[in-house]
Structure formats: structure tokens, C-alpha cells
């Protein structure tokens, strides 16, 4: 199990107060806080050995390159990639998915082809496909939800017929739902489609094995897994990365440039044009070390327990006044808990609980197609991570009680 008190001591921001109250950070599904180990790794790089990567032959350039490539290797190990060269650094999941959309999809999809997504996708896994659909006449198909907030796979075979790609989140940022990626990948492959996984809400919270998933593309982001913003990545099967045309053109991604053209660098650098977020990559490496130190199994177990505690306490305290949008079964859900409360608008709830030092997200969570399916304009979302404990859940509940009092009709 995770020693939460020791974890909390590693996060400087948790020592601050908001409105005179202890900071209770329950918005890690949006972005996680950073441990001192990550801050120190980035600071040390800048103070002691910063230079551009892959260019200089001098000592500090070599040190920086080793740190940057070392971070890639750590990420590769974390998700069980076959080799570090299968990890392309991007700025976030959004860029990872856009890379696939612009490079692989535009080289391989044409009018009449189909892409299958789900009703619980984040805009990052919807809008790039809308853009492609509009440009190429590609059809977008949607896997619906069951009343239990799981994917309804009844019509999966029909939806996948003739599809070129199945693009699914491993864990929903709104519902918390964990999707059965291996099962979906098998179905996609049987239909001749490739499988893209938006793992933004999975890699930070549970053991991820891209080979066991048998996926083709997996996107993830650093800032949700204790790392800095501005760094994330794409894992893809090596033969796909080799065959894909480059995405952004510029320095670093080339082998040779002449007056008449260019040849591309090897994978993964073929997809890393220009100076990358170097310190951020090193910070991400430190975040991976931190999570690995805790153990992703232990992280998952901790969040499962805490989510169970939260669901029980919320229901106990508020009964029918609080509607949770997401599965109740802890085996199929992560730590994002979205809810409606007493007809109080999510923005009002968020505003009032902030007064108690509690940070929750209010709005559509970049999942407007899902909000339409749920028939709600916005929800309030609390989400849990390694530094949260039962006292945080209790603080949320007391703050919600104050909001209820405040807006009582």
C-alpha cells in the first residue's frame, strides 16, 4: 500500500493554504501536482548540465542528451514498449493523436473509410478525427454507452465493418470507466482496423502494458502523471512508425537536406522536429521513477480504495440529492467521480467549495459529445491521485454540505 503521509510530504504545493484552509486538490484528472523529485530533476538539469540534445559534442551536451534519452527509456519500460525507439515524445496526448491523424491516417485513409470512436471520448480523441472526416470524407462512427456507463459492444462488429481505425480511451476522464482494451483491440484487428488508445487517464493510474493490450498506437501525457506540462508521448508499433511519413518538418527530424528535398532521420527522432521540451522530458523521467517507486499496482489499489470510500460516503451523506455519472463497480472504474448535486450548477459548487480550499473541476470536461448523451450541460468532478486520502474526501463532503446550505431553495 501507499504511505500517503510520506507521499504528501513530497509535494510542496500541498503545504499551502487557500482562503485560510488546507489545500485539498481533487483535480488530478485535469492535471496532477508535482513532487519535489520532479522539480529537482528539472532544476538540476538547468543548473548543472543544460544544453541542446543530439548536437553538441561537449560534455554538458552529452549529459543532457543522456538525460533526455534516459527519460525515453524510462517511459518505454513503464508501458512495456519493445524498445525506447518506439516512444515518440510529443507535447501531450492531443499532439500524439494529431500526429497519428496527420501522418498515418492521411497517408492511409481515403473517402468512404471509417473511424470508430466512443461516446465517452475526450475532445482530443474526437476533433482530430472530425477534421480528417471533413477533409477526406471519412465516416466517424460511435460506440454507444450502456446504462451502467460502460461501452455497449452489442453492435461492435457492425460498427467495425470496413473501419480503418478504432480510437478509444483506456479510462474515461468523466465517468472513470476503464475500457477493455485487449478485447477491443482484438475486435479491431479481426475487422482489419488498427487500434489507437488514448491512455491519458490510464498511464498515471494503473499498470499499462502496450504489448499485452496489442494496441497499435498509444498516447499519454506527462502532466497528469506527476510530470511537467509540455511533454507527453506516442507509443506505436515500430513497423508503423517506420512507414509513417513525418508530421512536423524542421531540424532534428532530418538525415539530409538539399536544395531539392530531404531525407528523414530514424525513428523516433523523425517525429521530433525542432528543439524538444528537454527539461520537461527529464522531469517526466523523474515522474516515472517516482511512480515506479510507489508501484503502479499500489497506485491502482490506493485509488480503488479511495474511490470506493468516496462513492460510499457521498451516497450515505447526500442520498438521492447527488447523482453520480459513472460505474459503481470499482473493478471497472478509476478515480474520476463526476456528479450532479441538488440542481446546483457545477460552477456554483466549484466556487463555493473553493472557499473551503477544495479544488474540483466544473464543466464539460472536454467531452461535449458525452455531456449530450448524459443530457447534462456540465458536471462537477472530483478526481483522486497518490497524494489524496480519506481526509480529502471528508473535506469535499463538508464543503458540498456548505454549498447545499448556501444555495438551498
Amino acid at each position: 500500500m501507499i504511505d500517503v503521509a510520506r507521499v504528501q510530504a513530497d509535494f510542496p504545493i500541498l503545504k499551502r493554504q487557500v482562503h485560510g484552509k488546507r489545500l485539498v486538490y481533487l483535480d488530478s484528472a485535469s492535471s496532477a501536482q508535482k513532487p519535489i523529485q520532479v522539480l529537482d530533476a528539472m532544476d538540476r538539469l538547468y543548473r548543472e548540465s543544460y544544453a541542446n540534445v543530439h548536437r553538441g559534442v561537449y560534455t554538458i551536451a552529452e549529459e543532457t542528451t543522456a538525460a533526455y534519452e534516459g527519460a525515453r527509456a524510462k517511459v518505454a519500460t513503464l508501458v512495456n514498449a519493445g524498445s525506447a525507439s518506439e516512444i515518440v515524445f510529443t507535447k501531450n496526448v492531443t499532439e500524439a493523436i494529431n500526429l497519428v491523424a496527420y501522418s498515418w491516417a492521411r497517408a492511409n485513409l481515403r473517402e468512404g473509410d471509417a473511424i470508430v470512436v466512443t461516446e465517452m471520448e475526450h475532445h482530443a480523441n474526437v476533433v482530430p478525427w472530425h477534421m480528417l472526416a471533413a477533409e477526406r470524407g471519412v465516416e466517424l462512427r460511435w460506440i454507444p454507452l450502456t446504462p451502467d456507463f460502460l461501452l455497449d459492444l452489442t453492435d461492435l462488429d457492425r460498427l467495425l465493418r470496413g473501419a480503418k481505425l478504432l480510437a478509444v480511451s483506456a479510462a474515461s476522464n468523466v465517468l472513470g470507466t476503464l475500457n477493455e482494451i485487449r478485447l477491443l483491440a482484438d475486435a479491431a484487428h479481426a475487422a482489419g482496423a488498427l487500434m489507437l488508445v488514448d491512455a491519458a487517464q490510464a498511464v498515471p493510474h494503473l499498470p499499462v502494458d502496450v504489448q499485452a493490450w496489442d494496441a497499435d498506437f498509444v498516447g499519454f501525457t506527462g502532466h497528469k502523471m506527476l510530470g511537467p506540462s509540455g511533454i507527453g508521448g506516442l507509443w506505436a508499433r515500430p513497423e508503423l512508425l517506420d512507414a509513417m511519413p513525418p508530421f512536423l518538418g524542421g531540424g532534428e527530424m532530418i538525415r539530409d537536406v538539399t536544395a531539392t528535398g530531404f531525407t528523414t532521420n530514424d525513428v523516433p527522432w523523425k517525429f521530433e522536429a525542432g528543439t524538444m521540451p528537454i527539461a520537461e522530458a527529464v522531469g517526466l523521467g523523474a515522474a516515472v521513477d517516482y511512480l515506479t517507486g510507489l508501484g503502479l499496482d499500489a497506485v491502482r489499489e490506493h485509488e480503488k480504495q479511495l474511490t470506493g470510500y468516496a462513492l460510499d460516503r457521498l451516497t450515505e451523506r447526500f442520498g438521492d440529492g447527488l447523482t453520480i455519472y459513472g460505474p459503481r463497480d470499482l473493478e471497472v472504474r478509476g478515480g474520476a467521480v463526476s456528479f450532479l448535486f441538488e440542481n446546483i450548477h457545477a460552477h456554483d459548487i466549484s466556487q463555493v467549495v473553493d472557499e473551503e480550499g477544495v479544488c474540483v473541476r466544473a464543466g464539460h470536461h472536454c467531452a461535449k459529445p458525452l455531456m449530450r448523451v448524459l443530457g447534462v450541460p456540465a458536471t462537477t468532478r472530483a478526481s483522486f491521485y497518490v497524494y489524496n486520502d480519506e481526509a480529502d474526501v471528508d473535506a469535499l463532503i463538508e464543503a458540498l454540505a456548505k454549498a447545499e446550505q448556501f444555495f438551498a431553495i
Binding site: 446546483i344 450548477h345 457545477a346 466556487q351 472557499e355 450541460p377 456540465a378 444555495f407
Partner: protein, 157 residues
């Protein structure tokens, strides 16, 4: 530091709990106009009856946060029965109230520099919404009804 009582003044909560002029009007003669804030899902629907240069009746529908709904209610009460010109002056005055001036944020209350054509405009209860400017992300909640009204008056011309 701005506290909750700056944002949620009692008069605002009163309009939120008991919104004035809720309902619909037959279209035509009334016109129906919709305002939408895609970021938070706030929705304001206005039915306006404009007769001989006067806003003779207003009804409101829609859903959203307390600030957007209270502002809608207060707006409807303020412009009902007013000449269109006066309604437009109110819209202008309200937008000035909602604009973020450094001096206002620091609370020195020097409002004397507002443009001259607003002299004589009385915001009354609407002044209660001034606390919203201390919460910049909520300003759009307060202005939604007024932008929708402006759009409606333009259409009614």
C-alpha cells in the same frame, strides 16, 4: 481578497431562487432570442415584445449557474416596460459595470469616469452584480443575458 459574499449577494440569491418573468410569449408578435455559453452550458432564452419603441413584455427561459440565471431575472425586471433606448443605455451601463478596471478591482470605488451618456442611468439592484468582476471567470455568466437582450433588440428593429 474577494469573498463569496461579494459574488453571491443576497439579492442575487433571491433572484436565483425566485426568478422573475419566467415563461414564454407567443411568437409572433414577440420575438424569441437565444444566448448560449458553450464553455459552461449556460443558456438564456428571451421572449421580447417590443411595441412602439417600448419593451412592453419580457419572459425568460433557459438554465445555468446562479449568476447567469439571477442576472437574467434582474435584467428582465429592469427592462420590462422601458423604452428601447433606455434598455440600450442599461445594457451599456451594465457592461461598463462588468468591465474590469484596475481601480475597481482594488476597490477604490471611483466610478465617476464613466462615459457621459450614462448619466442618469440607474442600475439599482443590478449594482449587486458588481462583485462578479472580482471573479473574472464568472463575468461571462453575468453578461450572457445582456448580450442576448442586445441581440434581441437588434432583431426587433
Amino acid at each position: 481578497m474577494a469573498g463569496l459574499e461579494d459574488l453571491y449577494r443576497e439579492i442575487i440569491l433571491d433572484h436565483y431562487r425566485a426568478p422573475r418573468n419566467r415563461g414564454e410569449l407567443p411568437v409572433p408578435p414577440a420575438i424569441r432570442v437565444e444566448g448560449f455559453n458553450p464553455l459552461c452550458g449556460d443558456e438564456v432564452i428571451l421572449y421580447l415584445e417590443v411595441d412602439d419603441g417600448v419593451v412592453t413584455d419580457v419572459r425568460t427561459a433557459g438554465q445555468g449557474c446562479s449568476i447567469s440565471q439571477a442576472s437574467t431575472s434582474m435584467m428582465s425586471a429592469a427592462v420590462k416596460g422601458q423604452p428601447v433606448d433606455e434598455a440600450r443605455r442599461l445594457i451599456h451601463a451594465f457592461k461598463v459595470l462588468m468591465s474590469i478596471h484596475e481601480s475597481k478591482l482594488e476597490g477604490d470605488g471611483d466610478d465617476a469616469d464613466q462615459s457621459a451618456d450614462l448619466t442618469g442611468v440607474r442600475l439599482g439592484d443590478l449594482e449587486a452584480l458588481q462583485g462578479v468582476v472580482k471573479f473574472p471567470v464568472r463575468i461571462k455568466c453575468a453578461t450572457l443575458a445582456w448580450n442576448t437582450l442586445e441581440q434581441g433588440l437588434d432583431e426587433a428593429r
